[in-house]
């Protein structure tokens, strides 16, 4: 049995009201590549943040043993000094500084606070050679590709003598060749004795490079599979990731599903960030009256982008395709037009894009329907209060009055305010993007009940969610999206966690 470089014992981490990690046990062998997999929200990032000192010692319980010593990290610096480096999905590089400057940021080659630039760039070249990065160290970060930026991050970690490298979804934003290069580099580093923890959704990559795989689900470690000892297949990993008992989490809905009322035809768009990359590729969807249609997919599958591109064309370049409502093409070029055509979109980012936190409940609810409560552009304040009061009662928004600031409400009640705002516009088509993100279980049930109520009124509901059980539990039909394409359409009976994952994986291996 080889020596363990890292052991995490009985890690428990709680946020107010939620236990995110429940007794996680996780150990990594020295000089191996260890994959950590799990659904969105399974607790992977939280676990890594505990390890990286983002959540200091004392805010969690359990022990971290690194290289045989118990560690109590107070901050990120502490864990870095010990030899742990985390490379996050959002790279932490300064775009307007050069590669060389970034490599030694916070770790400058300096004497008496005077930077020795010759030494800096000399060392930079050595580090860059280690990761196979062929660029002039004077090049600015903003001028190199994401794949190369990823290499800079790794080089930077090596420059700090990192012995344990943690990569969070390193290949999510990379092209096929860049991903290949990165995986080869990891294997190369392994030969030189660097240990890696790899967090990824791409199971084919994981099964290829990793020596062991740990599956995390609902904040607990489910199992650890070791190469050579256990049989590792993608199917087995998927089963471990989603194999959760479905209990009475979702209220019953019995309502009649009518004819097709909303249709997306041949909808395509280009990625505004990467030239030449398709953001959405010929998406076709139909929604019937009174139907809840779920869109499942991994992060970055293009679900939110689809919603934003059709709601006022807020995201994506060169958007084309047709949107039909009740058989007639409608114009959704601007948000105003979309609302006028009775389409509504509830954003996934409640705090930053859904609410005006400094304003009160009343103002937030009426914001998209001010014309309804005004005459000649003059708002009737009494009608406004009355309307807001009506929704507060109807959706059971817990607050001491309609004039409470929404910034002071809980997540569930904030979400009810956003829903009220859109229900007030009386939409025929309601797109819900992550409607229960960051909401406790009780409030989730209430939101589900509201969704059912809206569907029974004959509205079309499109439900986007990263929580697969939610999509499966709430939807009459599920579209599976991956890399901007619809890769599967499943009826309520067909839709299971396994079938959804299979649709995604089938598409992935096709692309690979």
């Amino acid at each position: 049995m080889a020596e363990c470089i890292l052991e995490m014992r009985d890690i428990v981490k709680e946020f107010p009201g939620v236990r995110v990690l429940k007794n996680v046990n996780f150990s990594v062998e020295k000089g191996s590549i260890h994959a950590l997999v799990g659904e969105n929200g399974a607790g992977k990032s939280t676990l890594m943040n505990v390890l990286g000192g983002v959540y200091p010692h004392g805010t969690y319980t359990g022990d971290i043993v690194f290289d045989g010593r118990v560690c109590e990290f107070k901050n990120i610096k502490d864990s870095e000094k010990t030899g742990i480096a985390i490379i996050h999905q959002e790279l932490a590089l300064i775009p307007y500084l050069s590669i060389g400057e970034n490599l030694f940021l916070g770790n400058e080659c300096a004497k008496n606070n005077q930077i020795d630039w010759d030494l800096t760039y000399d060392n930079a070249k050595k580090l860059m050679a280690k990761v196979g990065l062929k660029e002039d160290p004077n090049t600015l970060i903003k001028d190199i590709s994401v794949g190369k930026q990823q290499l800079v991050e790794i080089a930077k970690a090596l420059g700090k003598d990192a012995r344990l490298l943690i990569l969070d979804e390193p290949t999510a934003a990379l092209t096929e060749t860049d991903s290949r290069h990165l995986l080869d580099l990891l294997l190369e580093l392994k030969k030189n004795g660097v240990t890696c923890i790899l967090i990824s959704h791409k199971l084919n990559e994981i099964t290829e490079v990793s020596d062991a795989i740990t599956i995390l689900r609902d904040g607990s470690t489910i199992e650890t599979m070791v190469k050579g000892k256990d049989e590792i297949t993608e199917d087995q990993i998927i089963k471990g990731m989603v194999g959760r008992e479905m209990t009475e989490m979702f209220p019953q809905r019995d309502c009649e599903i009518g004819e097709v009322a909303f249709e997306i035809q041949n909808w395509s768009a280009d990625d505004p960030l990467t030239a030449g990359k398709k953001l959405l590729d010929n998406v076709n969807m139909k929604v019937h009256k009174g139907e809840v249609v779920g869109i499942a997919g991994l992060m970055g599958a293009g679900r939110t982008e689809l919603a934003l591109s059709l709601f006022g064309r807020l995201y994506g370049n060169n958007i084309h395709g047709r949107i039909l409502k009740d058989g007639r093409e409608i114009d959704t070029h601007t948000v105003e037009n979309a609302i006028r055509n009775k389409v509504a979109y509830v954003t996934e980012d409640r705090k930053n894009a859904g609410l005006i936190l400094m304003d009160d409940i009343c103002m937030n609810i009426t914001l998209s329907s001010l014309q309804k409560i005004s005459k000649n552009h003059v708002i009737d304040m009494d009608v406004e209060s009355q309307t807001a009061e009506k929704y507060r009662a109807k959706l059971n928004i817990k607050s001491h009055s309609i004039h409470q600031r929404v910034g002071n409400l809980s997540g569930g009640n904030q979400q009810k305010v956003v829903l009220s705002k859109w229900i007030m516009t009386d939409p025929d088509v309601l797109i819900l993007d992550e409607p229960t993100r960051g909401i406790d279980v009780g409030a989730k049930y209430e939101i589900y009940t509201i969704i059912n109520q809206l569907a029974s009124e004959g509205r079309c509901i499109i439900l986007i969610s990263s929580e697969l059980p939610e999509v499966l539990g709430m939807s009459d039909r599920v579209y599976v999206m991956n890399e901007g394409k619809v890769v599967g359409e499943l009826s309520r009976e067909e839709a299971k966690a396994e079938t959804v994952m299979q649709c995604i994986m089938a598409n992935k291996s096709m692309g690979a």
């Binding site: 006022g312 400094m358 009160d360 001010l370 009055s401």
Partner: protein, 392 residues
């Protein structure tokens, strides 16, 4: 329950404004004592209004900029000077009809607003930079137009904008017009309050107690009466006061009661959310700056009329007075909150400080220092009280 609703609304929304009003009254009382009663003499009250008129005009426009995006317009002082220079050339040099010249001046103000608003709203150049450039551009153009000269004299009808008073109907010792106007204001105020009450009654909302309702009416009516009587003792109602009142009432109504007004607060509070709610934020921001241009031109007209001359150095630092007035009056530097009435109160606080200290013979050095401290104190008070409210 509903009664609670009304109360909490008042206390949460207006606490800052009330406290500034109280501060204004305290400052006025203080200077009334320190100046041995000169501050509130009828003649000085009239003076106070005329002296601060341009700050109030500019602060109204500035408040919309701050509310809608947290942006400030640094160019207004230069625009005031530039408009003054144009008026000088048109009226003094070319003898143009005064009213035609005023219309042209307002149009030029609008054009300046279009120019700056376009860059800010549609090309997304930070307002700070666009208006800093505007500050230099229009100061430069002023000097070019005037060639370093001061243009004077302006005809009487132009000067009457700031020095004129409403004609005294009775022609007697006391100014009857002032009395009548004051009475009219009181009647209109009472009628509107009663109408509001009836609308609430009709919808079954809880009503304020009779005591509170009439108490408020009596208080406001008394204030209006006292103010108009005071003015009547001097020369009556200045024409400029009428212009200012109309301006304040119209913009207050616009910001607090209309749909586009509400949109300004929404986009200032959270632009992303406003866009997703169907608000055309670019258009709204553009027109906010067009409006600022027009009001800066009005400020230029008023100031030139009061100065009785067009000079290259006019309007220096006016932008700072207007910005300070908004912040003292409770506007948030981040955007999304602030009221017209607050900005007017802010302007009056600074006006009274200026006036009171100058009557006491305090130099402009100390005056400037005190004004700075008051600005800082007002905002510190705001931030601290908000923090306390959040912890509670």
């Amino acid at each position: 329950m509903a009664n609670l609703t009304e109360k909490s609304k008042k206390s949460s929304l207006n606490i800052r404004q009330y406290s500034m009003l109280v501060a204004l009254v305290v400052i006025m009382a203080l200077f009334q004592v320190l100046t041995n009663g000169i501050l509130l003499k009828p003649q000085n009250v009239t003076n106070l209004i005329l002296q601060n008129s341009y700050v109030i005009v500019l602060a109204v426009g500035m408040l919309l900029c701050i509310v809608s995006s947290g942006a400030i317009d640094l160019s207004v002082g230069s625009v005031v000077a530039f408009i003054g220079a144009l008026l000088g050339v048109m009226i003094v040099q070319h003898g143009m009809n005064v009213w035609l010249a005023i219309v042209i001046a307002l149009l030029v103000g609008a054009l300046i607003g279009v120019w700056q608003g376009f860059w800010i709203a549609y090309v997304r150049i930070p307002a700070f930079i666009v208006t800093l450039a505007g500050m230099m551009i229009f100061r430069g153009l002023t000097q070019y137009v005037l060639q370093g000269m001061t243009l004077t004299p302006f005809p009487k009808e132009f000067l009457a904008i700031t020095s004129g008073f409403l004609p005294n109907i009775g022609g007697g010792e006391l100014n009857l017009t002032a009395f009548l106007l004051g009475a009219a204001c009181i009647v209109i105020y009472i009628l509107s309050e009663i109408k509001k009450l009836q609308s609430k009654k009709k919808r079954g909302f809880s009503l304020p107690s009779a005591g509170a309702f009439w108490g408020k009416i009596v208080l406001v009516a008394a204030a209006i009466a006292l103010f108009t009587i005071w003015l009547a003792f001097y020369k009556g109602i200045p024409i400029l006061l009428v212009i200012l009142l109309i301006l304040v009432v119209v913009y207050s109504f616009y910001t607090s009661k209309t749909v586009p007004g509400r949109h300004l607060y929404a986009m200032g509070g959270n632009e992303k959310a406003a866009v997703l709610s169907g608000i055309n934020t670019k258009k709204a921001l553009f027109y906010t700056f067009v409006n600022m241009g027009v009001l800066a031109a009005l400020g230029g007209i008023v100031f030139t009329s009061r100065l009785q001359a067009a000079t290259p150095t006019a309007g220096q630092g006016f932008e700072m007075d207007a910005i300070a007035a908004c912040y003292i009056g409770g506007a948030s530097a981040m955007g999304g909150s602030g009221t017209i009435v607050g900005a007017v109160i802010g302007a009056l606080v600074m006006g009274v400080l200026n006036n009171g200290l100058s009557i006491m013979g305090v130099g402009s050095d100390i005056t400037q220092t005190i004004k700075g401290l008051v600005l800082l104190a007002a905002v510190i008070f705001d931030v601290v009280s908000k923090k306390k409210a959040e912890q509670a």
